[in-house]
């Protein structure tokens, strides 16, 4: 990270502290906040300096007298588009939540607005700089880059976008994102994650960083993956038998004991919980069939150690740089996170809680190893932790305690 980047990040932190503690009196600020703030200040002189800068900004705004020269109408702003080349000298920030309607007309309008923005940006631009787009906990964003590519960012994800003349380069430093890449044969679209790079060839694909592994899943089209040289495993060019993940029964919810047997009171059917049903539609049998059809097309390894992935295929690149076998998956299931759904397949409750916690301000805590190791299967709405709590409670006797507004503790029942 260069000096300017570091400073920019510290400015953000300082602003965060300023707005959090701001002008509050000590009694209004919790002891914990004050402790953390003090700790932060004592970490670096840069922190102190940036806080002073932010205070200065506040002071300046307070003395500004020409407010009436700025309009208050903001309703017509389209906040799902980012002008990514930071030619205006400011970091583009779109506002989360709003999903771009996928119908063509809306896309055309968006593309037209982006084009207009791009012209304006081009007019003002001296050069194109990289821009950082990030989401915090419980925040999902959909942004359109100036080349027309749409990126869905999941919570706690950071992307660095650099759309150059000859190459469109995205660095995924944490989290996961789905890319609907706009075709532009003159400028390849490359996503870098760890030491792996994924080159898109006009496609839809997801890249996630999970426990230091990089998982690439293709939904449409084709991508070329270049893990660190020479580390493709022998199995990478072979297809899995069709009994892979995609063939399993999809949106059922199941609670297992740690030994993997179905939990009787919930069963392996639709379950007693209503949250299973809405998700069934999107994960239809058609998709399954399509997955199998495409999957049969053998995938070839690229020339310079590149690995090609087509629709409904997934590969995991380990921390060491070794690529695991290419798996045939149902991409709508494997990329369900991009629809706000979390799919668990014999996943331990502690991992489930961790996954939910990315998506919600309210944090789930599972007490006790036995409960933490208990596995569940099913599809859940990421933004609704109550469904998972209900689901767990239906399967096993637990005590659910709400600790303040920010934490829910699930402990084994006595």
């Amino acid at each position: 990270m260069d000096v300017n980047e570091r400073r920019a990040r510290v400015t953000e932190e300082a602003t965060h502290w300023w707005t959090r503690l701001g002008t509050k009196a000590p009694a209004e600020v919790s002891e914990v906040d004050r402790q953390e703030f003090t700790q932060w200040l004592r970490e670096s002189p840069l922190h102190v300096a940036e806080l002073l800068h932010v205070a200065h900004v506040h002071d300046v705004l307070e003395r500004f007298k020409l407010w009436n020269e700025f309009p208050l109408e903001t309703q017509h702003e389209d906040d799902t588009i980012i002008a990514l080349p930071s030619s205006l000298g400011s970091e583009g920030k779109a506002v989360g939540g709003g999903r771009i309607n996928s119908n063509r007309r809306v896309r055309f309008l968006l593309a037209a607005s982006v084009a207009a923005l791009a012209i304006l940006a081009g007019w003002l631009a001296v050069r194109t700089n990289a821009t950082t787009v990030k989401t915090v906990r419980a925040e999902r964003r959909e942004v359109m880059l100036t080349d027309g590519t749409i990126v869905n960012l999941e919570p706690e994800t950071t992307l660095r976008v650099n759309l150059g003349k000859h190459q469109r380069s995205i660095a995924l430093t944490q989290g996961r994102a789905l890319f609907h890449v706009a075709k532009d044969s003159a400028r390849p679209f490359i996503v870098h994650a760890g030491s792996t790079s994924v080159r898109a060839l006009g496609t839809i694909f997801g890249v996630e960083q999970k426990k230091q592994n990089i998982i690439v899943t293709v939904s449409e089209g084709k991508v070329a993956i270049a893990p660190p040289a020479g580390l493709l495993s022998a199995s990478s060019s072979s297809n899995l038998p069709l009994t892979a993940l995609s063939e399993r029964q999809l949106p059922t919810q199941r609670q297992d004991e740690t030994n993997g047997t179905d939990y009787p009171s919930v069963g392996s059917g639709k379950g007693s919980n209503s949250m299973a049903s809405p998700t069934s539609n999107i994960l239809s049998a058609n998709v399954e069939r399509e997955a199998q059809r495409v999957g049969r097309n053998a995938m070839a390894s690229g020339e310079a150690g590149e690995l090609f992935l087509v629709a409904n295929q997934q590969v995991t690149i380990q921390k060491s740089g070794a690529a695991g076998p290419v798996e045939k998956v149902d991409s709508s299931r494997a990329l369900a996170w991009s629809e706000g759904l979390l799919v668990f397949d014999s996943t331990s409750l502690s991992e489930v809680a961790e996954e939910f916690n990315h998506y919600n301000q309210v944090q789930l805590r599972i007490r006790g190893d036995t409960l933490g190791h208990r596995t569940i299967s099913g599809v859940f709405k990421a933004s609704d932790p109550q469904t998972i709590i209900d689901f767990i409670s239906a399967g096993v006797h637990v005590v659910v305690t709400h600790q303040g507004s920010g934490e829910i503790v699930i402990s084994p029942g006595s």
């Binding site: 920019a8 400015t11 953000e12 602003t15 965060h16 300023w18 707005t19 503690l21 002008t23 009196a25 000590p26 002891e31 004050r34 402790q35 703030f37 003090t38 700790q39 200040l41 004592r42 670096s44 002189p45 840069l46 922190h47 102190v48 300096a49 940036e50 806080l51 002073l52 800068h53 932010v54 205070a55 200065h56 900004v57 506040h58 002071d59 300046v60 705004l61 307070e62 003395r63 500004f64 007298k65 020409l66 407010w67 020269e69 700025f70 309009p71 208050l72 109408e73 903001t74 309703q75 702003e77 906040d79 205006l88 000298g89 400011s90 970091e91 920030k93 506002v95 939540g97």
Partner: protein, 178 residues
């Protein structure tokens, strides 16, 4: 919100904060924006000398009080170091109030220029906060936005303004330490 209530919330800000902050920014030892980094460094060193528990009581006040002290000390030091040339004394007389400098059209225009780099919505959020003294929840209601969006607009505006003002206001605020 009426101007009176806006005034009330601002005076609350004055009571709690402005005194140490203002001493630091516009007191006898007022600093140039460009010097904030040096001041930050010195405050940081002093901060390490204090017991954590002591600072935690009211960290914000500690920071600004220390910053004001550092600035004042530096101003005194530089005053003694410099030769008392008539030219220097004249410039001191001519610009003895930063408040006046802020009222000047040049500075107001400069702040306006910086504000123009914000998006219209960020600008509206900041305006309602400072001009009308609305709380963030009230701003959200007024603009038909969620509180989170208001909060975020607020947090994205400051770094943008900080970048703009740091570069441009340096010249406008050529007061204090020489």
């Amino acid at each position: 919100m009426s101007p009176a209530s806006a005034h009330k919330s601002l005076s609350e800000w004055f009571r709690r904060w402005r005194s140490p902050l203002r001493k630091f920014l516009v007191g006898r030892g007022a600093v140039r924006v460009a010097d904030l980094d040096d001041i930050g460094q010195e405050v940081f060193l002093r901060l390490l000398r204090y017991e954590s528990a002591e600072v935690i009581q009211h960290p914000q006040a500690y920071i600004f009080k220390m910053a004001a002290n550092v600035a004042a000390e530096w101003a005194i030091r530089s005053r003694h170091r410099l030769a008392h040339e008539p030219r220097w004394l004249n410039s001191l007389v001519a610009h003895d109030s930063v408040e006046e400098a802020f009222d000047s059209q040049v500075v107001q225009r400069e702040i306006k220029r910086a504000l123009a780099t914000l998006t219209a919505r960020e600008c509206a959020v900041v305006r309602l906060y400072f001009e009308e003294g609305l709380s963030k929840a009230e701003i959200a209601l007024r603009l038909g936005l969620s509180l989170r969006v208001v909060q975020r607009d607020f947090e994205t505006s400051y770094p943008k303004l900080r970048r703009e003002l740091a570069l441009k206001l340096t010249g406008a605020l050529s007061h204090g330490r020489e």
